[in-house]
Subunit: 402 residues, 2 copies
């Protein structure tokens, strides 16, 4: 049998991160590549207790098909949690649950963008977003960032440019806080400017905030959604970083008509999400366990971040620059412009250190001398060793480039 796939499927490619997984089990390999929480952050015994209670109390209900919107109690608890942590005013009916935030990213592009239409993202941006958008034929235009995040002056230029070509952006997708991959945070001034521009040109904003609760320094900034007075912002979050990623529970807070379209699409793509997982997440919020457990996780990650920053200062010279994230899971390393981090990767793997080359994170116009480093998964001493190995590999590469 000779299979003839759809034009989409013919273009699907495995991501570099996925390919890296092959090397994960080589003895001695230290990976700064993935984006995984540290397993010791998982509140296993809380989850055991909650699951047991839930199955005893309402086993038959939470094992039955759920509604498409998702488990009601979780949506109610989320509306309180979002008011408390992000000053977002919403009710359960403004929320749709998803199988991880990946599903929400796929869905938002699918309902907002007809294949071939264009959207704006930060450049670089989250690789999972690029994958989700590409699977819908969505065309991405990147806007550059600096240490204060997305450069909003360039955003406006980009919009004007797209409008002049008859290709109005269908939305602006941003990760304003501890961005993946850059670790950067959009400043308050720029948040205001972004909203002002979006409002002036009437372009919806998709605010993705998976890392908001992982702040290690600096002052909390308001979410775009909390500053939005005219229904411009769709806000996405996940339990992957405040509970565990294996449960696959994500959520979207959006204007009612967006919620309604997302629910209709969810009917087609997966009918309903996992009620047991949603009930566990709901109960976890209800019992106030995020507040109880996050300080320990934040303390652990803060140390890891500081360890990586110190190791970078120790090992890298003037040719390299890197971001200094106030939170999240990643920092962004920029090397001598002659170094191609994709070509360098096999040598890094030989030296038992893995990273994701920056190339994969660009929505368009990629740069080749950048990489993303994760600091939450490896242990502190592994982080030190990994950065030493990396600097050795980069040093050799720089010698050869000269």
């Amino acid at each position: 049998m000779q299979y003839k796939f759809s034009s989409l499927a013919q273009n699907l490619k495995a991501s570099e991160i996925r390919e890296l997984l092959k090397y994960k089990n080589i003895p001695g390999m230290i990976s700064l590549g993935g984006g995984m929480p540290h397993p010791s952050s998982f509140p296993v015994s809380d989850i055991m207790e909650i699951t047991d209670d839930l199955l005893k109390r309402e086993g038959r209900e939470i094992l039955q098909y759920g509604t498409t919107e998702g488990y009601e109690m979780l949506r109610v608890e989320l509306s309180k949690f979002l008011k408390d942590t992000e000053n977002i005013d919403c009710t359960k009916d403004d929320i749709v649950l998803s199988a991880g935030s990946q599903q929400a990213l796929y869905a938002i592009s699918k309902i907002m963008v007809t294949p071939g239409e264009e959207v704006i993202t930060e450049s670089p941006t989250y690789i999972g977003t690029i994958t989700a958008f590409l699977a819908n034929g969505t065309v991405m235009r990147g806007v550059q960032m600096d240490e204060e995040g997305l450069i909003t002056e360039l955003l406006e230029e980009k919009i004007k440019n797209m409008l002049s070509k008859g290709k109005p952006p269908k939305f602006i997708y941003v990760i304003p806080t501890f961005q993946n991959p850059s670790g950067r945070t959009l400043s308050l001034e720029r948040r205001k400017h972004l909203l002002e521009i979006a409002s002036r040109y009437q372009i919806p904003i998709i605010e993705d905030n998976p890392y908001g609760e992982l702040r290690y320094s600096g002052q909390k900034l308001p979410s775009l959604k909390s500053m939005d007075t005219s229904g411009l912002v769709t806000y996405m979050g996940t339990f992957s970083k405040i509970l565990t990623p294996g449960l696959r529970v994500g959520f979207t807070v959006a204007p009612r008509e967006v919620v309604s379209k997302m629910n209709l699409l969810k009917q087609a793509t997966n009918l309903a999400t996992n009620t047991l997982a949603e009930a566990i997440a709901g109960e976890y919020l209800k019992r106030g366990l995020v507040k109880k457990n996050m300080p320990r996780v934040v303390q652990m990650y803060r140390e890891k971040r500081d360890t990586m920053l110190a190791a970078l200062s120790e090992n890298f010279g003037e040719d390299a620059t890197w971001s200094h994230p106030d939170g999240g899971m990643f920092l962004w390393l920029q090397l001598d412009s002659r170094i191609n981090t994709t070509k360098m990767l096999p040598r890094a793997l030989e030296n038992k250190v893995a990273y994701v080359s920056g190339y994969s994170f660009y929505p368009d116009n990629p740069e080749y001398n950048t990489m993303r480093l994760n600091f939450t998964y490896a242990d502190n001493d592994q982080i030190v060793t990994a950065i030493e190995r990396l600097s050795k590999v980069v040093g050799q590469e720089a010698m050869m480039a000269k």
Copy 2:
């Protein structure tokens, strides 16, 4: 903010089943509408024990991000289970797990069919399949059924007709055993004929088998996948009927290149599925609990089926015909051709009985005098009362039609 949705989203419509949910909570309403297992079929205490053991033993692993293919142990156990129950030879690498079989239905259409291309389904067919395929712009052509299932002579005519129009079918989607909505089972002779035709014209078959373990009478027939010698058949199954639907665990056994494309798409749509749920399903198989628990469920559903068949004989005259399913969850009622079951539905709801009108189940060329009746969810006495109410409503409708 004025939202402009994608052309797809503008066409998404709520399904009738979804709309029916509104009436679910009216006191005294008996629903034969949904397709839900009876909650007493859920092995709650087994699930409690398994979950507790799993979290104790490997909590940190099963709460972390899973791989895209899905939890390895479950895929290994599934390959044994499928050999045992369906005589399907496969290894873990031939299997991809999905968030319920709904996700697999969406994915198979997305990877095989470029929007506007055509596929063949039974007519009528599962409403969730229609929804999933429509969300990808897949055009469906229906082939009629009789009491032996899909009429394979008509299938060949349809294929020839499509080929002559330059629209070769990308695949043939069938639910050969206890079909949803008709309850019919494809005979052995027709199974052979279907495979012979698919092989001759080199058209892949998608075999959806959610109900295989729910047999109440008659002899087990071989799955198409077990009869396939040339990589024609992609087989789909689910834990929704042998464990619980709330866990959202489905699976697809397919030729390697199809598995590979499905995994790439899964990266884009939801990254990975729920590892906890997959581990629970895996352990459930490993402990041999399907074999232990299903006889009780089968006995319960057999009684419900017999109750409904008896009530139909009791209450309906010569103007109505219905299928006599050997298993599954549904039977199909055909009324006097002057009766429109969609228009009749509000009157049925007034009389506190719900069904899904047949209209929604047709991939093309709908009939209006049919309906699907579910017999697994309501209790036996409710089934009797519901059929009495229904016959009263149909009787009134027939009077008015004269």
